[in-house]
């Protein structure tokens, strides 16, 4: 892992946005699905759109939709948001060797759009030849903008849009993540950590709150990864 001479430039932002533009296109129908679900749960279209602009987390927002109603408990909503999204801490820690070489303003910018797709892309790029953290910001900003656009369309056009499953949109994220990690794992002789992570994620899913199985799996994968190399 090379972390020398890290920077954050506008050309990096543009490069990141371009690289994730094809994926960002598919965030629009996903955002539409959220917009529709939000207004069906009684959320106003202004709240639905504002939540996509400010929260920008499909997992947290879809979960909040389940909670939305006259008797909503802010404490419960907070705890669920925390549980569903706690993996962002792990993604931030994984990106820290690069991001923490930047000044505070740029670190905040790096955090602003941090999500699964731009983490998956930028972390892979930074491990290879990339030294511009702008790619993380650009990749995040482009998927954020299409997510917001999709939400606005869904919240305004409503239920006439149909089921995203019909278009295969719901399988997009697992396909993208698998496409990014499998080639690396096939050339890694110490792949046991990934099997352990997958096993922990699946085995703990029925017993822990939503999202925590991912955190347990990540920690288990990290420990096994260090242990198998140390041997």
């Amino acid at each position: 892992m090379t972390t020398a001479s890290v920077c954050m430039t506008l050309s990096g932002v543009v490069r990141g946005a371009r690289r994730l533009a094809p994926l960002a296109v598919f965030m629009t129908p996903l955002g539409m699905a959220y917009g529709v679900a939000a207004i069906e749960s009684g959320m106003s279209s202004a709240h639905a759109i504002a939540s996509s602009i400010l929260v920008y987390s499909a997992a947290a927002q879809f979960t909040a939709v389940d909670f939305w109603g006259p008797d909503i408990s802010l404490v419960a909503l907070f705890l669920v948001t925390l549980a569903v999204s706690a993996r962002h801490v792990i993604m931030g820690a994984a990106l820290s060797p690069w991001v923490n070489q930047l000044d505070a303003k740029r670190r905040i910018l790096g955090a602003a759009f941090l999500s699964d797709p731009n983490f998956a892309y930028a972390h892979t790029a930074l491990k290879q030849n990339e030294n511009d953290v702008g790619v993380l910001v650009g990749a995040g900003a482009i998927t954020w903008s299409t997510w917001v656009l999709g939400t606005a369309v869904g919240a305004i056009a409503g239920t006439q849009l149909g089921d995203p499953r019909t278009y295969g949109i719901d399988v997009l994220m697992p396909v993208y993540f698998a496409a990014l990690v499998v080639p690396g794992l096939l050339s890694d002789t110490r792949w046991v950590f990934a099997v352990v992570a997958a096993f922990v994620a699946v085995a703990s899913q029925p017993f822990v709150p939503t999202g925590w199985n991912i955190i347990l799996a990540a920690l288990a994968g990290g420990v096994v990864g260090v242990w198998t190399v140390d041997e």
């Binding site: 400010l54 947290a60 962002h88 719901d170 994220m173 396909v175 698998a178 992570a197 199985n213 994968g221």
Partner: protein, 101 residues
């Protein structure tokens, strides 16, 4: 739900998400990155993605598994994540089209 409460809920979620996004950077400023910690972070980050895929395979069943399998095969053959995504969602859509579920 009242208008101010709804805005409060959105603001609270936004603040929580930003705090979580920034927390990883903040915590690691106080941890010296040794080769072992670097390796741990590296394996942990791949594990996050593996775990998301594994959970979605369980939740999504054969349809998601077929989409992921064909997507990965496409990635290995073409080295293009875009081609992999297109094949994956194509399989996902075709599955619903043919089976109706």
């Amino acid at each position: 739900m009242s208008e101010p409460l709804a805005w409060l809920a959105v603001a609270m979620m936004a603040a929580t998400l930003f705090a979580l996004r920034y927390a990883g950077f903040a915590i690691m400023r106080y941890v010296r990155i040794t080769p072992k910690i670097e390796l741990f972070l590296e394996k942990m980050s791949v594990s996050v993605l593996v775990a998301i895929v594994a959970s979605s395979l369980v939740t999504g069943g054969f349809r998601t598994a077929a989409a992921v399998a064909f997507g990965v095969a496409t990635m290995l053959a073409t080295k293009s994540p875009v081609a992999a995504m297109l094949v994956g969602i194509g399989i996902g859509a075709a599955w619903v089209g043919f089976t109706g579920v």
